[in-house]
Symmetry: C2
């Protein structure tokens, strides 16, 4: 019906054709299809194939094309492929990668493989890679590139452009030049654009700008977020004495951010993040990524069974009270999730800090109370019409109390998680539901007992 | 305790000081504080102030600084500020913005203001802005910059660099040059880096690369995601005949993507996205962003009340069955959310397409069944020990059926949403819970009746 379905994207055709050819074990056909396809389409194809077929397809690529595709693959897929290759092939691939990409790949390989691969590198490349490997796994130093072009305040624009030309083959970027003093301290940055705009004999000192730098030991996520928000193409990475150690480019920052977002979004949904694309992840890995969370949450939910057991006599007297249990705990859970989602996001982008906890609590109390009053009035009125005013009053009072409670807990929880240094995305939504569920049931039955006088 | 608390970031100190000075209505002090602060800190400060205080603080900025800060603000905050300014001030600010930033701001202002502001612009600027404004609100053409530098296949590297120098003040970027033929069709791209690396008399035709282009009418989100994944600094934007109409830079793509991610994450949590920072959003807007969803979900949840009413006689006979209701529907909801989260993400990044619906269903049936068997065995065993084997059997069978059902529905739902062209993030998680809750209860009570023979 829609034009999209009428004309499938070329990559879809490629995927279909290759899958069919692989199904018929017609490797010559696969090889032919791959030879003509753009590298980016091949990457998308490999993302969708199961591991074994992925390895077969990869080995059918022409040699130069194989390298190009390899560089574009996610590190986890690179890691998978490497297991199926000969040592000599791996060493050749490894030498071609940029130092920072090399470190991504090393992080995916067994620790025993890394030293052997590193030993195979030319000395210069090995040193560059070792510098990056020296930083902790979640520090920005681990993700920076050690291949940068610098200039100095007393150099002219023309001299700086010459420096760019001389390093143009190796450097990660030539568009942002950190400006350093005699002891390698960063005193500014200058863009290639400003160098080209300036008079050839203008001094760098006159055209450079203040440098936003990031600390090599800083945590990855806030640092990359800052870089992407600054709207700059690259920032210098410095050590504790502000000496230049590397550069972080916006495209690498975006790549890291995308991974972090993927992890956060998975954990908010109660799933461990998948390390590879959905369709090529084996079923048992999908199960494993979910089962632990599900068990933890189910274990937490046994609390609700215990709470209800405590009120079993009330339930026996007024079975009708059971009818509203899913509705009420659902509403409590939703209210808590809303607050948690909003505050988690505000925290991630730096709009809210851990020390704002009282302001957040004050706001969420007000929001929760307002929501509770709105829903309570409405729910109470409907319940009075359908059942009787006792039920109406119970529903109304419960909704007011529950929404206020749930919004406050939901809003404060991400901040509490941050304070005890747990990823707020991990600790928020599913846990809140369980906690709010059990407390909500207690509130409900206590109100019901009071109103009904039992 | 932690070093972070011992030494607050300078921006925190600034925020505290300014808030205090504003509280005392000591505008001279505010003005002094703002004069010394870096633009980026001022932006973060304005993000945190309530609208009225934000407007006061903004007006205390020195004139040149005010422009610099204005350009960095989110369009919504810009829109707020503009309401408090004189027409002449607005016109001056407006003329200084880049065409694409101008369009962001126009989108935030009442439709009546736009023509007046546009009339105030110099002709050239007005034409550029009008070109961008001509595209639909969610098309990439609306977000591109019309200020680019092109070159041609028959030009030399040196000639191309000269073109860069001549356009260096206006162009959005000079690092990526679309290469066009005589009829403005894009035939490639060449980077400034490659131009500098090449011999001065090398022809562009020899050094240019294939261009990834995006269609000006394409939807924003997939297009910006593609740009950020390509790892390029900019892509040409073309019309339906592949003629160049603009350029999209990676920093703009990232900015758009961040907004989209914020919206998706909000909607997954059942909140309408906030248009401004959390702490500066009035309480009534927070309530408004949540109440509609909460009502819709509560309305959906009345389905569970109806289902339970249908089984009220069963509940009266075996009150104990009520004890497990929150646990079971919670587990069903979690299983469904897990599947929906994973598939929504895979869909957003293009790992899964709408036509993969059967593959997704097959995978989620297997995953759900596996999870159900694991949880069912465990839950059934525990329930048998604590209660009796009837209850154990009911719990086990319900968990198997429920997990299989919930995972399938959760996995397919995002694809269904995409097929009917609704944002999968809006349509997924909260809705699933409600639907799965009601169906889960039916499954549970039918199994219970059968096992108990009532």
């Amino acid at each position: 019906m829609t034009p999209e379905i009428a004309t499938p994207a070329p990559v879809d055709t490629l995927v279909d054709d290759v899958e069919q050819a692989l199904g018929h074990r017609d490797l010559a056909a696969v090889s032919g299809l791959l030879a003509d396809a753009p590298a980016r389409h091949v990457v998308q194809l490999l993302d969708r194939l199961p591991p074994r077929q992925c390895a077969i397809a990869y080995r059918l690529l022409p040699k130069q094309r194989a390298l190009e595709v390899f560089e574009e693959l996610a590190p986890e897929l690179q890691g998978d492929l490497v297991h199926g290759l000969q040592d000599a092939e791996i060493a050749a691939l490894f030498a071609e990668l940029d130092p920072d990409d090399r470190v991504w790949l090393l992080d995916e390989l067994p620790a025993s493989v890394a030293p052997r691969l590193l030993r195979g590198l030319p000395v210069h490349e090995r040193d560059l890679t070792a510098a990056v490997l020296g930083y902790p796994r979640d520090a920005i130093g681990r993700r920076m590139s050690p291949e940068y072009v610098t200039t100095h305040p007393e150099f002219t624009a023309a001299q700086s452009i010459e420096r760019v030309r001389s390093r143009i083959d190796d450097a990660e970027t030539v568009y942002t030049l950190p400006v350093t003093d005699g002891s390698r301290r960063v005193v500014g940055v200058v863009s290639l654009r400003d160098l080209l705009r300036a008079a050839p004999d203008a001094l760098v000192a006159e055209i450079m700008e203040d440098a936003h730098t990031v600390d090599a030991d800083a945590d990855t996520e806030p640092a990359v977020r800052e870089v992407t928000e600054l709207g700059v193409l690259a920032v210098p990475v410095v050590d504790s004495e502000r000496r230049l150690v590397g550069i972080l480019t916006i495209d690498d920052a975006v790549r890291i951010l995308t991974r972090e977002e993927r992890e956060d979004s998975a954990r908010q949904g109660g799933v461990e993040p998948l390390s590879r694309p959905y369709l090529s992840t084996p079923i048992r890995r999908l199960v494993r990524s979910r089962v632990v969370w599900l068990l933890v949450l189910a274990l937490g939910a046994t609390l609700t069974v215990q709470v209800l057991e405590g009120f079993e006599s009330t339930l026996e007297k007024v079975t009708m009270l059971a009818l509203f249990v899913p509705l009420l705990i659902g509403t409590g859970g939703n209210t808590g999730n809303q607050a948690a989602t909003t505050v988690t996001r505000a925290l991630a982008v730096g709009e809210v800090r851990a020390r704002d906890v009282w302001r957040v609590l004050a706001r969420e109390l007000q929001v929760g109370l307002s929501l509770g009053l709105l829903l309570g009035l409405l729910g109470g009125a409907v319940a009075t019409l359908v059942y009787d005013w006792h039920i109406g009053l119970i529903i109304a009072l419960t909704l007011v109390a529950l929404c206020t409670f749930a919004a406050s807990v939901g809003g404060v929880k991400p901040l509490a998680a941050r304070a005890i240094r747990v990823d707020p995305a991990v600790f928020s939504n599913p846990f809140i539901s369980t906690f709010v569920d059990a407390t909500g049931l207690i509130i409900y039955f206590l109100i019901a007992r009071t109103v009904l006088g039992i």
